[in-house]
Symmetry: C2
Subunit: 170 residues, 2 copies
C-alpha cells in the first residue's frame, strides 16, 4: 500500500470516529452547485463557505462549464439545484499552455499510442489565455444553453490563491 493510500485509511479512521452527519439527504439542502477548478490550492468548503450537505461541488481542470455540463444537468434536473456559483482562480494552470503544447507533451511522454488515443477521442484540453474573459465566457455559456432553466441564477467569481479571497466578476 502506498503512502497516499495509507493516508486515506488514516484520515477515514479519524474522520469517521467523530462523524455525526450520516442522516443528510441526497439532494443538496441549499439547492445550489459550485463549479470550480481541481487546483490543489483550493478548499471549496472553507473558502466558499459550503457546509456538508448544502451544495454539489463539481471540479475539473479550469472550472470549465462545458466540460461540467453532464454533471450540471444531473444536479439541476434530477437533484433540484437552482443556482450556480462558478469560481475560476488566479495562477491557474490552464493559463500556461496551449492545446498544441499538451498534444506534444503527451506524445513525448507516452508515445504514439497515446497520441492516437488523444486523436481518436478528439480530446480538447480547452486551456484559456486570460482569466476574467474566461469567467465571463463560461457564465454566458451557462446562460445560453437550453439545458439550464432561465430561472437558474449564475454568478462568476475569481478565487485568489495568493490571498484566500473570492471576488465576484459577473
Amino acid at each position: 500500500m502506498s503512502a497516499i493510500q495509507k493516508n486515506v485509511e488514516a484520515a477515514s479512521e479519524k474522520y469517521s470516529s467523530t462523524f455525526t452527519q450520516g442522516h443528510l439527504a441526497l439532494p443538496p439542502a441549499k439547492k445550489y452547485l459550485v463549479l470550480t477548478c481541481m487546483d490543489a490550492r483550493i478548499d471549496p468548503a472553507k473558502a466558499f463557505g459550503i457546509e456538508l450537505g448544502d451544495a454539489h461541488v463539481i471540479r475539473n481542470a479550469g472550472a470549465l462549464a462545458q466540460d461540467a455540463l453532464r454533471s450540471i444537468v444531473i444536479s439541476q434536473q434530477l437533484l433540484g439545484t437552482r443556482e450556480i456559483v462558478l469560481v475560476k482562480h488566479t495562477g491557474c494552470g490552464m493559463l500556461t499552455f496551449t492545446n498544441e503544447d499538451a498534444y506534444r507533451i503527451v506524445d513525448a511522454n507516452l508515445g504514439s499510442d497515446a497520441s492516437e488515443e488523444l486523436k481518436s477521442r478528439d480530446l480538447d484540453f480547452q486551456p484559456f489565455p486570460q482569466l476574467e474573459p474566461a469567467v465571463k465566457a463560461d457564465v454566458e455559456f451557462l446562460k445560453n444553453t437550453k439545458l439550464i432553466s432561465d430561472s437558474v441564477a449564475v454568478s462568476g467569481w475569481i478565487y485568489e490563491v495568493e490571498t484566500g479571497k473570492t471576488r465576484r466578476v459577473v
Copy 2:
C-alpha cells in the same frame, strides 16, 4: 445579490482574514489526484485527509473516470501527479436513474429545445446500476487507457455517507 452569493462573500471575508498559505506552488506537493463525486455529503479534504496544496481534486456526477479524462491528463502530463485515488460512494444519485429517465425529465422540464440540444451534444449521463462494479470498471478504464502511464498507481474506494468511512475496493 442572492443569499448564496452573500454567503460566498462572507466566507471569503472570514477565510482570507486568517489565510497564510499564499505561497503554495501550482503543482500538487504530494503528486496525486483524487477523483470523487460532486455529492453534497462529501468533504474530500476532511474525509480523505487532503492538506491544502497536496492533491488535485476532480469531482463530477458519479466520479466517472471517462468524464474526468481531460482533467486527469492535464494533472499528470502537465502538473506531474503520479497516483490516482478514485472514490465513489454509497447512496449515489447515479444509482437511481437511467439515461432514458434523464432524457424524459429534461424534455418534461425544459421542453423540446433542450431535448434537441441534448441530442446534438450526444450527452450520455452515464448512470450505473451497481456501486462496486462501477468502481472496478473505472479503475480498469484508468489502467487501460494509453493516456495514463503504466507507472501511475490507481486505487478504487467507496466512501460511506452513512458512517463517514472510506474503504478500499481495489
